[in-house]
């Protein structure tokens, strides 16, 4: 602020010159003085001790719009009667009249357009040539633009402060010349130092955590000073209270006349943000760990059914080492056409309907033919507009379960079959025994009434036959029971070819007698797992069957061949015999005491026992036949159990 201690003008009042100059001269001088004052570049007015305007510069008159009125001889207070500060001004003017120049005095003034103008008044005593105070010289400077600027700067500063308080972005500046580092209050608050703390470059850098953070900032500062490079680094500080914080510090060189004079920068606490980021990362990690280690196949597909996420189980199932090999691919890349089409149809339906598919059982067949049974769920992924942008798929491999189910079903079938057989057996037993006892009872009744000796003898013979038949029946039943109770006998591998040769050997006389040919087509090394006692009986039965029911016009040929089928070794025994009308007798073929040929050797028990033996080894037997051409039995020996 300028202070005017010395009078600016030494004014020679024209009246004091009386006697020194002639009147003419005085008049000229007065006019000259007046003229001089009028031309003063600043708005200036001279007032006497009664505050009346004596002189005024044109600029003064113009500045305050006095062009239309006469100001001379008028009190300044009447001229500025709108001025609110007239009282204050009067005190200042009074002081001036007593020889005390005033401080600057600001007043507002509304121009004719109504705009506020700001003026700075300087009031100084007006001395005559005898150093007497005759009045006050008033100078006015229009400072409106300066005031407006100041107001703007004040506003900007307030704004900046508020902004930095809200965003917690602090500032700092460094002056190279003075080697002084300046921190704003926010920067100090982040460092947790008192507001009167005075930092320097070393203390500032030492706030950074030892290691990467401190090295990074030291390098950045150095780089800015030497290479004038700005920086923005995320790093960690340890506050004065020992708390670790994440901050972003920026720095930028400041030049004046192409010379580096300092650095300025910002300083922001981003701990919350980093913590948030870390939390998100942690959650992501948790989710990923969870998804990856679920014993389920989890994947996400986009609207075009392309995989955009796959967990470990899914990758393993797909036979790839990582999700990257799956991403962007669709099911046609991995599955058979039919399976892929079905899958994609499901995907589209979920995306369109927004209804999830839950626990649907599907069989997926990969390109290599590998089939897996899955329980699949597909859930739509929706955005905030409720539109599906993809699906989450979860598949549970239930192949194992399915196999168990299959085994169980098989077991149930076997059990119900056994049960049926048991009932059947019970009927057979009751029927056969009943038929024999009925015969006994009838024959005994005849015998008791018979008087003729030869007829008596005849009846007795029949009784003997009946008794033999009963015994044979009991033997057969015994055999069947034995098979059914020997289910748990251990199976051993047997060389099939050798077995057939043995059977041929045992039947050699029978074969020769019937002019039969037995063709053994079994590979030398073929082995089947069987109960040895049963295989003899089975082969014997089928081979003799083939010979026994020979076509009277042909010599019998029995052919035995072998092949592998799934879990079975299949032995086929075909003959060129009579054949059986399977339509009529198929259901009874393996029944007990059923014979289909009126043949003296037909006992009707062979196939029944054979079938029981095969089933006791978890096998099965099928038959194809054509009357007059021959019969083919396929015996399935179970390799597995």
């Amino acid at each position: 602020m300028r202070v005017h201690n010395k009078p600016l003008f030494i004014w020679h009042d024209p009246t004091t010159l009386v006697g020194k100059y002639d009147n003419m001269l005085k008049k000229d001088l007065k006019l000259a003085n007046n003229y001089l004052i009028k031309q003063l570049p600043k708005a200036t007015a001279f007032i006497n001790s009664k505050f009346e305007v004596i002189h005024a510069s044109n600029q003064w008159i113009k500045e305050f719009n006095f062009e239309t009125r006469n100001v001379f001889g008028k009190s300044v207070f009447s001229l500025f009667k709108d001025g609110e500060k007239n009282e204050e001004w009067k005190l200042i003017l009074d002081k001036c009249l007593k020889g005390q120049p005033s401080d600057l005095f600001n007043i507002e003034f509304k121009d004719p357009n109504g705009n506020t103008q700001w003026f700075e008044w300087s009031n100084i005593p007006w001395y005559d040539s005898e150093e007497n105070i005759v009045g006050v010289i008033i100078q006015a400077e229009n400072i409106t633009s300066r005031v407006i600027n100041e107001i703007q700067i004040e506003k900007l500063e307030a704004l900046l402060l508020e902004k930095s308080e809200i965003t917690k972005i602090g500032t700092w500046d460094y002056n190279i010349k003075t080697n002084k580092l300046n921190w704003c209050d926010i920067t100090k608050t982040i460092h947790e130092v008192p507001l009167d703390f005075i930092p320097n470059v070393d203390t500032a850098i030492n706030f950074y955590k030892d290691g990467i953070s401190r090295n990074t900032i030291s390098m950045a500062f150095h780089n800015a000073m030497i290479n004038n490079k700005p920086w923005s680094e995320k790093s960690q500080i340890i506050s004065a209270n020992g708390i670790e914080k994440w901050v972003i510090a920026t720095g930028q060189p400041v030049f004046k006349n192409n010379e580096l004079i300092g650095l300025i920068g910002t300083f922001q606490d981003i701990s919350d943000q980093v913590e948030g980021d870390n939390k998100i990362k942690e959650n992501e990690h948790l989710l990923k760990t969870l998804i990856d280690n679920l014993p389920l196949n989890v994947y996400i597909k986009d609207r075009e059914s392309r995989k955009i996420l796959a967990n470990k189980s899914e990758c393993e199932y797909m036979g790839v080492s990582g999700p990257s090999e799956l991403l962007g691919k669709n099911d046609y890349d991995f599955f058979t056409k039919e399976v892929a089409a079905e899958n994609i149809k499901d995907d589209v339906s979920v995306i369109k309907s927004l209804r999830p598919i839950l626990n649907k059982e599907t069989v997926s067949i990969k390109k290599d033919g590998n089939a897996t049974t899955f329980l699949i769920s597909k859930i739509p992924l929706t955005n905030d507009k409720g539109e599906a942008y993809g699906i989450v798929g979860i598949s549970t491999d239930i192949t194992h379960l399915k196999q168990k189910e299959e085994e169980l079903r098989h077991l149930i079938n076997v059990t119900s079959l056994q049960n049926k057989k048991l009932i059947n057996f019970a009927h057979i037993v009751s029927h056969n025994l009943r038929s024999h006892t009925a015969n006994f009872s009838m024959l005994l009744d005849f015998l008791s009434h018979e008087k003729e000796e030869t007829e008596k003898e005849n009846i007795l013979q029949m009784l003997r036959n009946a008794s033999d038949n009963l015994l044979e029946t009991l033997d057969n039943l015994n055999e069947v029971v034995a098979i059914s109770t020997n289910i748990n006998i251990e199976k051993t591998p047997v060389k099939l070819n050798n077995k057939i040769e043995d059977v041929k050997q045992n039947l050699s006389s029978y074969i020769v007698q019937n002019k039969a040919t037995i063709v053994n087509e079994i590979p030398i090394n073929a082995e089947i797992k069987v109960i040895p006692a049963y295989i003899d009986s089975i082969l014997m039965n089928f081979i003799t069957n083939g010979v026994k029911y020979k076509n009277p016009d042909k010599d019998p040929i029995v052919k035995i061949s072998y092949k592998k089928e799934n879990n079975y070794s299949v032995v086929s025994i075909s003959d060129n015999g009579l054949g059986i009308d399977l339509k009529k007798y198929g259901s009874k073929l393996f029944g007990m005491y059923k014979t289909f040929h009126n043949h003296k050797d037909s006992r009707g028990i062979g196939l029944y026992i054979t079938k029981n033996q095969i089933e006791a080894m978890n096998g099965k037997v099928t038959v194809t036949s054509k009357v007059g051409e021959g019969t083919k039995f396929n015996i399935f020996f179970n390799d597995k159990d």
């Binding site: 038929s435 009925a438 029949m462 014979t595």
Partner: protein, 134 residues
């Protein structure tokens, strides 16, 4: 004692055939006796009789469990034949299976022939009752 023109026994068990034949002699008189060892032989024989205009048996004794063609299969074929007369068919069996009894009811409904169901052994009195022209 009414005289019967011809009687037929269809059974694979010679003892039963002997028994029926013996009892027939006690309860009736007849001109002709046909014996068949299974259903197939019987149906073939009867078709021959039809073709040769030989009078058909008026009473048939029929076993159920027989090889090649059993009693039921015989019945199935028999009721298909165009026979005006009512033939009496006496099923003689040792079976006490409900299945057989149900089958009897089934065939009984399907034909104009008279079908009876008899359990072995058959007593003389019973034999008398069932050995009549239908």
């Amino acid at each position: 004692m009414t005289k019967i023109n011809s009687i037929c026994i269809i059974d694979d068990d010679p003892i039963t055939v002997f028994g029926i034949q013996k009892m027939l002699g006690l309860v009736t008189e007849y001109e002709q006796l046909y014996k068949f060892v299974n259903g197939k032989a019987a149906i073939d024989g009867i078709i021959d009789m039809l073709n040769n205009n030989t009078p058909l048996p008026q009473v048939i004794f029929l076993d159920i469990n027989m090889p090649i063609m059993d009693g039921w299969q015989f019945l199935e074929e028999f009721i298909k034949l165009k026979i005006k007369e009512t033939v009496r068919i006496n099923i003689v069996t040792s079976s006490i299976d409900d299945f057989d009894r149900n089958n009897w009811n089934h065939y009984k409904e399907q034909t104009h022939h008279l079908i009876t169901f008899n359990n072995k052994p058959i007593k003389k009195e019973e034999m008398k009752q069932i050995t009549k022209v239908a």
